[in-house]
Assembly symmetry: D2
Homo-oligomer: 388 residues x 4
């Protein structure tokens, strides 16, 4: 069935846009979706009817169960438009469900910044979407807001520490952490803060990054539970002293407040695909600066509560999948059971030498030439001893 | 009954702190609380078990019903610790419930900034609290995050407009709107943004304010529905052209995106008091820069679904209550049916001439002298023809 | 004679502008001008043919001689165009010379900034000018450049001190001294310096002022000799420590280098009036922030080498003359022997109530009304017991 | 003779420092020095007894005479301490004088910044110095102050142009010219100016450079006369418009004021060597950003008024001498008659591979190895067809 959809979706999307498809969907109540994974209403913290956070108790319980298979979706070197890893992951999970398997999918939460930029959301496409799509693309369950707040609370405490006598002897010019916002705001990239005289802090050069690039996001993705979250937050390097010694968030005394702000955000979010397959959409670090994958907590839940968890790792296999295996899998103590390398005709043509603006033109020759890129990504995955 | 609690709470709080009291409370499921106001489960968008947003349809339906009585709680000129308007409002609503009336209370959402600062939350105290207190004091249902995002989206679009050719001829030095964050961050009060060369925008002096001081928050408080929200957002003055003409958010083209971000935030939040009385906690503009009261949407719901809605207006009657009547009541087309002017022995002593550090000492003389302040506030309220 | 010139100059200047008059003048070689004061060629350090600095030895020698009379020229409250104190001072000295007295005049050095601004130079006007006028209005003998350099050297050393470990524990936000330039440069009034990362100093808010407003200029005006210069430079307050203690230029270790840079600038400059009367043009602090008069060294020379020294004090008698008497005279241990309060019909009309744009219209009534201002300035001078 | 001095000076300087030698020197009156070049007192504008500027009329007159030989002193790749080109040039001119030739030397004016830094002045060393050394190392005849002022006047006019409506549509982020000061001031390298609100200009990122790096200095070095100066100043590129078109100083309307400020500075300065040989010390652009040599006007004078003019070109032959020939000689229409490539044992050892801190140790092997560097510089000069 999934294959059929894949074939027909390109035609259908000429008629129905992603958002139209998402809005026409009839959604299953989230308690019912959760029950497919053996989760009870008590395991859920509902956000409206179709979104729920999963309680920590349910995660702890899941870890005692045997785990299913982990299928990693990665890609050849992508074109600027992306190669559809998310769409493919969702489709694969739906297909496995059609085959009668207990399957679920785990993907990242979209950033709001790009939603209002050119890239659009990140909830899949065509008939391989997670829903309620608009909610997921906007505030969803507030995780990214919480991460923004925790991050900025830390930086405010650093500046306040310096303003209040600077007992840690932090050199303000060496503060490595910027502030963050989940808005694409060019003018905040480079700024001078702390102006306005002695009562308004210490002047220094800094900037804002998008929340998906925050190290707090990376920590949120990797943390197994609240104690692990606190340990990872506390270890964050934020600055250097005048003497050249590193200063951590723990020394700033920010960990307790940050963990309080992040408590709910650490609970995985459960939604569904257009066909009612359970889908975890949780955490969203950028693949270029961090391991661009969904959370460890969501992976644990999905892996132990289903036969197959399909998940994706951002960018090509050389960047996203390597980080997934080196960082996230090592932290989890597991390996993927299978790897899928997504490829598109467009990407093959591009890597075969066709210019970006000409990718819409057919060229069997360029496609063949582009196979070299695809095969290299396959070989990377094979070098880990994984079935591709 | 409320009187009894008021008497005993000062003793009890020697034993139990506010947070202990709140954590020991047994909460009623929010559907049950909602049913006291005639709201059905379909009217609710639940956030966990004890918080719910009310759908716009329910607001529209409520407006067709006759309205109950509006009781405004204001205060004499406050001490820095506050004079307990919120606690008194909650207590009053609970007392009316004990008397068998259909009563509810409407208060403001707390800012996160002060929560981590010295002031603590704003969910009442002792046995006159709204719960779940910790949730309300942290992210709650995400309204303040949405307001922060909408506000910063607007400012990012202004800077982007200037960067992309400045067709509106905005003089960057006249931009009146700052950015905002829900974090107490001294170092952001005054900053220079847009640094880093031509591709990173146009350098200009600006700053951040706390979200409670955002004009978007004031708009959120006053907006009756989405069209009204859009109209008010669009009218926001954000800058001047080189020729001295005002520029509005509407000219920036930001209204659609801002309204999309604020859509859910406009729905009133329903929680409960420690005794299960329905409580709306919605919107939270600062009283010193805006009308410091809860939202118009919450007021409409509370007023039309109960016999008595108790609500408060920030600061003393000369600031908060006058704005409440001049701005919010005018917008609603109603007047309060009764006014309560909160007074404390501490405030009377302070206005009687006792120094701040001596307020713990008894002084009947100073209390008597401080009555002048209280009586003036009573006379202000009487000047509106209101029963005090 | 001076009266005749005063009468005729307004007519003549319809035909010849100040600069034309100055350029047509036949100048006396400066050695010859100097000889009128008993100065020998060895006492001079010539700058071209018509400008000379006077050696310190000549000053020391002059102090051993009896002193002449000191005539102070001040003014009623001025109009924006100035009331001609400089012109009057030069004219008076020329008149005294015509009467056969050994007379000279001492005025301030013009700032370059206003020369290229709207105000024009400050070398007198009509036939009461000091010459070579263009030289005096431009670099002259380099004094203002030296003051600029000494001033900025001090500030560079402060910033460098902070950058190199800040052993004095200076709070960079409390540095009271700005940098200076002898250029009207609006964009430098408020700036943030020390940007660019740890190797480029410590970011802080500061600004530039015009050199005439520099405290180094005020010190230059008051210093009797090199040791006095060093003492006064060393006492300059430049910042505060984190503990709130004042930091002086002496603690910065800047005095030696500053004095080296200022050595030649401390020697008075001798030029001549259009009629060959000796004229000292030396030092130039702004009257609004300092004692707006020429240097103590020039006053000593002029006073001891002639019968009459005519000198001026900037702004009205309430500002310039009071500072002259309170600060400069006290430092010299003398009092003026006579005071002249300059008044113009324009100023009388303005203070009589005529609007600025109407000052060209005759109005005997307004002139009479404006006498009140003039009489008050006369009474101020009388309050010092001085003949006006 | 020069060889003798070279041999003995290293011994003598163990006893007498450069400054002691300079201070013990008996100087010849500058009129007498000038007369060696056929210059009359009327050709001079004296600054004290031992410094004079040469009038433009004398330059014009000199150009009508036949020219002498031009000897260029350059060097192998220098060590950080410099290889003594200035000392060698002065020594060569003195030696030629001893041989009975009419010889003079032309070198650059020292920057004040490095004088107070680590490098010391640039007036030669030992018995090959130009004097009065202290004057030359401080303000000298004010040329560098004038260049600083002209430069900053231009930039102030650019900022003012933008502030006053920006009729030229200059993009403030593209202004290529910084301000300058003749002070080593790290904190001014990167700054944000134009802060303080709409009346204080337009905020923008910029910085200060040392005056020797100013393009106005390069223009001052190359300008033959006032019209040429104006033409070169007017052609200076200072910014780009929003449309990407270049903006010149001429379009800013700054050329007249700049030329007025630079008028006297364009006249070459005449001083003497310790042995009374005429020495021109005029203009001082940095060799790393400009042609690091003395002025065209000084070269014209020296070349036409003597048999041999010895002059130097900053840095190694690959940088300084190439620029001297490509830029300055082309502008003059001449070629050097002979080239001297300065070499020191220290530099040979360094280029032979000895570490900087070991240069004091003897090593014949390293000296031999370093010859490769020297020979390459010789070959560069030979490639121009010049006798080395």
């Amino acid at each position: 069935m999934s294959g059929e959809y894949a074939l027909s979706s390109s035609e259908l999307t000429k008629v129905l846009s992603d958002i139209e498809i998402a809005q026409r969907a009839t959604l299953t109540p989230i308690e019912e979706v959760a029950s497919k994974l053996g989760l009870t209403p008590e395991d859920l913290e509902c956000h409206g009817r179709y979104k729920a956070k999963i309680q920590f108790e349910a995660i702890a319980r899941a870890r005692t169960r045997p785990r299913g298979k982990l299928i990693l979706v990665t890609a050849m070197t992508p074109t600027p438009a992306g190669e559809g890893k998310t769409t493919l992951s969702i489709g694969l999970a739906q297909a496995l469900s059609h085959l009668g398997k207990r399957a679920c999918v785990a993907i990242r939460e979209p950033s709001l910044g790009p939603v209002f930029g050119v890239k659009g959301g990140a909830a899949g496409g065509g008939y391989s979407q997670v829903v309620p799509m608009e909610d997921i693309n906007l505030h969803f369950t507030g995780d990214i807001h919480a991460i923004t707040t925790a991050h900025n609370l830390l930086v405010a405490m650093i500046d306040n520490q310096i303003h209040q006598g600077n007992l840690l002897a932090i050199d303000p010019r060496t503060i490595t952490i910027k502030r963050c916002l989940d808005v694409c705001d060019r003018a905040l990239r480079h700024c001078v803060v702390g102006l306005g005289g002695p009562i308004h802090g210490v002047p220094r050069e800094t900037g804002f990054e998008i929340t998906a690039a925050s190290e707090v996001m990376a920590v949120h993705m990797l943390a197994k539970d609240i104690p692990d979250l606190k340990k990872r937050l506390g270890a964050m390097l934020v600055a250097y002293t005048y003497g050249g010694h590193p200063v951590t968030a723990s020394q700033i005394g920010a960990v307790g407040a940050m963990a309080a702000v992040l408590r709910d955000a650490l609970k995985p979010n459960l939604v569904q695909t257009l066909e009612g397959t359970p889908a975890f959409v949780h955490s969203g670090p950028f693949g270029n600066v961090a391991a661009g994958c969904s959370s460890v907590t969501a992976t644990i839940l999905g892996l132990h509560l289903s036969d197959y968890l399909v998940t994706e790792a951002g960018f090509g296999s050389d960047l996203g999948a390597e980080k997934f295996i080196h960082i996230k899998c090592r932290s989890l103590g597991i390996q993927p059971d299978a790897v899928v390398v997504a490829a598109t005709i467009r990407a093959l043509k591009m890597h075969g030498g066709l210019a970006l603006q000409d990718l819409d033109q057919p060229s069997a020759e360029r496609v063949a030439a582009g196979m070299e890129n695809l095969l290299h990504h396959v070989s990377i995955m094979r070098s880990f001893g994984l079935p591709v």
